[in-house]
């Protein structure tokens, strides 16, 4: 009997420990005593519990109102986690005014063996108007130290039908995640999880019938998860939010009082595109022609080819209308006003290009884009697109134009646009996908002439030819620079290098390759040790370090565009020296020529010639290939550092 009792007690105690109580205010001593997170010992804080419940209630005068209940319990392990004790809540204001209610918060600390509880009082709560559309309610928790557990809850009341995305992963771990969405039958939403996330939660979908204040069904989604790992950013992965676990709710239809569909929204990309096209601020802009008619006629006189016309129109728009920095797929001012005032958002500018070209009988169409910071949409939604460019088709070939930037050209688009794919919409709202990433390689070719002088200083000349994206980036960086600051930038962190007489051709002629050449003097690049001279032939152009530092990666590397970087190096040996050894010629490839590196060195009397070439054929490297890729890049760095050895000639 004695033994039996013991067993029962033990079992009971274990259950007690495991059964966490997440009710507000039920913070346990064990949570306060915890020194580090059991599965992520380096976490500075952890979300012990996150609750986010969205439901709609019926208001006699305003109809269905959205209510979003938020509750957090957060453990602070160390001082780096203190930021979690301050929260800013952004609310919409104006017509769709939102309000916050029921904000309560407590900090819990262990004092001796007692739990001390401090209330979030009014002196820790702040309000401010942020801008015309947003206001901020912020609060900061009292008495937060290492080891503190904080807890807060509040409710946002909103007249909006749209439901904000659910964030299901943070840069600290979540122990317990409790998300519920309950939507009335009258609003139909499509839920979608981020498929690119490492952590994918399970959705439980149910329905419930209510009868007060009247009969209707409620659709419910539940997420109940434990131990969501922290999301860690990685270099060269692009937008980390593309990999964050989350759920979006897209409104697809509204039913009327008789529960019959009254209005439908996007359900597939075709419909999404059509809905966008039908807007006054999109398709509605494309028929406006009168205000630029005269300017265009003068400009296009004599132009026959569609692409020729496209380039002329692109340049006209670039010179007349400047981008105000705002992204949108919808015109902000309207193309007429933008043309007159000389500024506009992305849509004002690029829809103007489409309208102008269409008015001239050119087959030009808008292409909807989701920019890199907008990420890749989870499902068909109007918000999935936030940008628009222009596509001109002539026969089988097409040309993509974004006239918001000075140096972008046909098919060479600003980097923000190079994400996912584009949705091209033709005149009647019919749409299809188009590729926006380039399939031709951008090329940087460098000719490097090296002459080693008697004092072992190196002098020589560099000539570069840059195409497409490489040229675009170079122009963005240096086209505005004075020769002096251009030189300064090239000299920076390149040792004892002095550049003179720089020449930058086609600086502004964006339809031609960039050509840069300069003369240089490089000291301290040749080591004289004993009777021998040592130097590495790529000089200041060598890759100095392997940019890939992590041991392993969770997310792909994104080089964005395919490119080729090649060098032709001619070396003239100093008088009185002969070649002792050259680095070995070698060609190495990664993953079936996805990336390739070739190094060829040849001697010819007192001249040496090297060809060094790196080809990034596939700009995406998957995490499973990362270790090999890192080693491959290490090999390239190593190879570029190899030395040529010269020996004093015997008289």
């Amino acid at each position: 009997m004695k033994y039996l009792l013991l067993t029962i007690i033990t079992v009971f105690t274990i259950t007690q420990v495991n059964a966490q109580n997440y009710n507000f205010g039920k913070v346990s001593k064990a949570e306060l005593e915890e020194k580090w997170h059991p599965t992520d010992s380096s976490a500075s804080a952890a979300i012990l519990y996150k609750k986010e419940h969205v439901n709609f209630f019926f208001d006699e005068s305003r109809g269905f109102m959205q209510r979003r209940e938020i509750q957090f319990r957060i453990k602070i392990y160390n001082k780096d986690g203190f930021d979690w004790a301050t929260k800013k809540v952004y609310l919409y204001k104006g017509q769709k005014d939102e309000s916050i209610s029921g904000l309560k918060g407590f900090s819990y600390n262990l004092e001796g063996s007692k739990i001390k509880k401090d209330k979030l009082s009014s002196d820790g709560k702040f309000k401010e108007d942020y801008n015309d559309y947003l206001k901020i309610n912020s609060f900061t928790m009292p008495n937060v130290k290492q080891g503190t557990v904080i807890e807060y809850k509040y409710t946002i009341n909103s007249p909006r039908i749209g439901i904000d995305d659910f964030v299901l992963q943070y840069n600290i771990p979540i122990n317990k995640l409790d998300v519920k969405v309950a939507t009335p039958q009258y609003y139909i939403y499509n839920s979608q999880l981020n498929p690119r996330a490492k952590f994918i939660p399970k959705l439980n979908k149910t329905t419930q019938q209510v009868s007060v204040p009247f009969d209707y069904k409620i659709d419910m989604i539940d997420i109940n998860e434990e131990n969501v790992p922290a999301l860690n950013a990685e270099a060269y992965a692009g937008n980390i939010n593309n990999y964050r676990s989350g759920m979006s709710m897209e409104l697809t239809a509204i039913l009327n009082a008789q529960k019959v569909i009254e209005k439908t929204f996007s359900t597939n990309w075709e419909k999404v595109s059509k809905t966008i096209y039908d807007s006054q601020n999109f398709g509605g802009q494309l028929g406006r022609t009168s205000f630029y008619k005269d300017d265009l006629e003068a400009l296009l006189a004599g132009a026959n080819e569609d692409f020729e016309k496209a380039i002329l129109v692109e340049n006209l728009v670039k010179s007349k209308v400047k981008w105000n920095g705002n992204y949108s797929k919808y015109a902000q001012k309207g193309i007429r006003a933008a043309y007159k005032e000389g500024e506009g958002n992305v849509a004002d500018i690029n829809l103007m290009v489409v309208a102008m070209l269409r008015s001239q009988g050119v087959n030009a169409n808008p292409v909807l884009i989701s920019t890199r910071n907008n990420g890749i949409p989870l499902f068909p939604t109007r918000e999935g697109f936030n940008y628009v460019i222009c596509c001109v088709q002539s026969g089988d070939s097409y040309m993509l134009i974004d006239a918001t930037e000075k140096y972008s050209t046909n098919n060479v688009l600003p980097q923000r646009v190079l994400n996912w794919r584009g949705r091209l919409i033709e005149a009647k709202g019919v749409s299809r996908w188009v590729d926006i990433k380039p399939n031709t390689k951008s090329v940087e070719s460098t000719m490097l002439n090296i002459k080693i002088n008697d004092d072992f200083n190196i002098t020589g000349k560099v000539s570069k030819n840059l195409t497409d994206y490489i040229a675009y980036r170079y122009r963005k960086e240096y086209a505005q620079a004075t020769p002096e600051s251009h030189i300064k930038a090239l000299e920076k962190d390149n040792g004892n290098l002095e550049i003179s007489t720089i020449d930058f051709k086609n600086r502004k002629d964006i339809y031609k390759d960039v050509k840069v050449s300069y003369e240089y003097n490089l000291a301290d690049a040749v080591d004289e040790i004993g009777d021998k001279l040592y130097f590495s032939p790529l000089l200041f152009m060598a890759m100095k370090e392997n940019p890939f530092k992590l041991e392993e990666r969770q997310y792909p590397i994104d080089f964005i565009i395919p490119y080729e970087d090649k060098y032709l190096i001619n070396i003239m040996l100093p008088e009185g020296y002969v070649l002792e050894s050259l680095p070995k010629s070698e060609a190495i490839a990664f993953n079936d020529n996805d990336v390739k590196f070739v190094y060829v060195a040849k001697a010819n009397g007192s001249y040496l010639q090297l060809k060094v070439q790196l080809d990034i054929n596939n700009p995406t490297v998957l995490p499973k290939d990362y270790k090999d890729f890192k080693a491959f890049f290490g090999k390239i760095v190593e190879k570029q550092g190899e030395q040529i050895v010269l020996n004093k000639a015997k008289p």
């Binding site: 937060v144 100095k544 002792e580 760095v637 190899e642």
Partner: protein, 634 residues
């Protein structure tokens, strides 16, 4: 990590205009004198700022500015913005924009300015707001004419004059005038007037004529200290309803003590008892202060909240005690109250915090500083406490509040003192390594790094990183070592002695490059200088090295049996006024190489003529840090 509270970031936003009849030609960009376009992204064609003192608590500031923006980098020099709050009222704000040839192309009224909260991202609350111009230029150059009128009812900050607001802006005409209608006594100070063409029409009316743009050059001291400035303060002023006097630092400091600090330092008896108990039996006051500082660090955290008398009055100490958070003022004042309770006197201290060194002007009392720390007076040396950091060692100021003039706010009045200077021997980095090379050119190594002073500040914090990020840190720290792998890391932050110690085991494949039967490698693996300061054909500005330091390195390299040294330099010593560098290579018993290196950099203000020599010094170091050893099969 200490943080700054910017009290009010209004340096030269406010200005004015009285009946100057400029000609049309000022709107025409083609009339800019050629020499003013050199080194300029914008040219101030005409600027007039008139400040009228209506009372000790009311000043009116009128400003008119015509600026030609030459390119996109020049846009910020339009300066068409005003901060405002309950006590700063914008009466007028207006902009006209002209194209290159001077035709008006746009007019922007006050209501078309963007109105936003001036809250910074790091701050949870500030009551400042700002109105600014958002204009998308169609082409360059263009000219903007900005007119504004602002009334200040809080006069502790007095808009002075600094015609050169930054690098790369030329000045054609900038004028400043004070009309003292209320005959309030003024304090004024002129700085750097002699080096520029400044016309003095009266003792409070100046014109700056034709000043060329200043090009940025590396290692330049704060630009503010090199350009003409006119500082003004009212001897009797109003700060958010509180009247003040300011004749000198002594009485201004006293005013601060009486009106901003007095009555804010009460703390609950329970807390008094707690710190008393904590320090019971400790005779030495510094030891007591250490205990109390630690207590405060564990109890509080930093939060930026800018409220209370223009952001100048600290939060009540009892509230800090209750809530456990405050900004720098609140935390400093709270610490002061705690120290008081254990009989350690201390002074609230106003400072310009930052990695760059900026002094409180000892010759001109005015509202200054952007941060507050606490001074504990001690026999031979004042001790300064950073109260916003929960991790800073006791008395540690390097990198944020070191080596600068600060204001002690004492009950009897203000006093300017200088904070601790970290000399080369105070800021040491010592790297000791045992390296085992293999015959393929790879190595394994055990490295020990200890740092003190300013270098401690540069290294600390690794202990809080995740394993992944610690590894990442060392692969970046030793980016010169290709194919590196970090095998083991232990770090120790000794807060008592303020020494940071790192022990890292690492290895590299193919570190040495092969060339036929030879291996070539650089023995300085772990502490290389690779960057040479930028080259200027004709340096225009003096330069400054902010802090001294000393690096000491000792690496023992064990060679594999089958390799021997073919060639190796002996060493090199370089002495210059900027510092000292030497390295030595010795073959020692057991097929080992001993590499030793010392590098000392001396802080100081140097003439522009010395820059070339400074660059040469660094060039030499970069060169010798790359010294190579050639090994050959034994």
């Amino acid at each position: 990590m200490p943080r700054i509270n910017f009290f009010l970031v209004t340096v030269f936003t406010v200005i004015s205009f009285y009946g100057f009849s400029q000609t049309e030609s000022l709107y025409n960009s083609y009339t800019i004198p050629l020499d003013l376009k050199a080194n300029a992204n914008a040219v101030v064609r005409f600027e007039e700022k008139v400040v009228e003192i209506l009372d000790y608590d009311k000043i009116n500031v009128k400003e008119k500015r015509i600026v030609t923006i030459l390119n996109e980098y020049g846009k910020k020099h339009a300066n068409a913005l005003e901060f405002y709050d309950a006590l700063r009222d914008i009466k007028e704000m207006r902009v006209y924009i002209y194209n290159a040839s001077g035709e008006e192309i746009k007019k922007i009224k006050e209501k078309d300015f963007i109105d936003a909260s001036a809250v910074s991202d790091i701050s949870i609350y500030e009551d400042d707001r700002v109105k600014y111009l958002k204009y998308v230029p169609q082409s360059y150059p263009y000219t903007i004419e900005y007119t504004s009128e602002v009334v200040y009812n809080s006069t502790a900050f007095f808009p002075g004059w600094q015609p050169i607001g930054g690098y790369y802006v030329g000045i054609e005409h900038s004028e400043y005038k004070i009309i003292n209608s209320a005959k309030i006594e003024l304090k004024t100070k002129k700085e750097n007037f002699d080096a520029f063409d400044i016309e003095e029409l009266s003792d409070k009316h100046f014109i700056a004529n034709k000043i060329q743009g200043i090009k940025y050059e590396a290692y330049t001291p704060e630009l503010n200290n090199l350009v003409p400035r006119y500082k003004v303060a009212l001897k009797k002023f109003n700060m958010v309803g509180v009247e003040g006097v300011n004749n000198n630092w002594s009485d201004f400091g006293k005013w601060m003590y009486d009106r901003l600090l007095t009555g804010t330092d009460a703390i609950p008896q329970s807390t008094v008892d707690e710190v008393k108990q904590l320090t019971a039996g400790i005779d030495n006051k510094i030891e007591r202060a250490k205990k109390v500082y630690k207590y405060m660090q564990n109890k509080t955290r930093y939060i930026s909240i800018q409220v209370g008398i223009g952001g100048w009055k600290p939060m009540m100490a009892k509230d800090v005690d209750k809530l456990g958070y405050a900004d720098c003022k609140g935390l400093t004042n709270y610490t002061k109250a705690l120290l008081e309770a254990v009989n350690v006197p201390s002074y609230y201290t106003v400072v310009y915090g930052g990695n760059g060194i900026r002094n409180i002007d000892s010759e001109f009392s005015a509202i200054e500083g952007n941060h507050v720390i606490l001074c504990v007076p001690n026999e031979n040396e004042n001790i300064f406490l950073e109260c916003t950091s929960q991790t800073s060692p006791f008395g540690f100021t390097a990198g944020f509040t070191d080596d600068r003039d600060v204001l002690l706010v004492k009950p009897e009045g203000g006093e300017i003192v200088h904070t601790k200077v970290y000399e080369a021997d105070d800021s040491v980095q010592k790297t000791i390594a045992n390296v085992y090379m293999d015959d393929t050119g790879g190595f394994k190594a055990e490295v020990n790094i200890t740092t003190t002073g300013y270098q401690y500040n540069l290294h600390k914090g690794i202990e809080n990183e995740t394993t992944r990020d610690q590894q990442l840190h060392y692969t970046e720290y030793w980016a010169n070592i290709n194919n590196i792998s970090i095998d083991n890391i232990t770090v120790n932050n000794d807060l008592d002695h303020i020494v940071y110690e790192e022990n890292v085991k690492l290895s590299s494949r193919n570190y040495a490059s092969k060339s036929g039967s030879r291996l070539i490698f650089q023995p300085n693996m772990f502490n290389k200088v690779t960057k040479i300061p930028p080259r200027y054909n004709n340096r225009k500005l003096e330069f400054k090295i902010d802090r001294s330091f000393k690096d000491v390195d000792e690496f023992i390299i064990q060679l594999p049996e089958n390799l021997k040294i073919e060639a190796m330099a002996e060493g090199k010593t370089i002495d210059s006024k900027f510092g000292k560098y030497d390295f030595k290579l010795e073959a020692i018993d057991g097929n080992k190489i001993k590499y030793t290196r010392t590098y000392i950099l001396n802080k100081g203000n140097y003439q522009k003529q010395d820059y070339k020599a400074f660059r040469d010094f660094r060039k030499q170091i970069v060169k010798h840090d790359k010294t190579k050893i050639v090994l050959i099969k034994a």
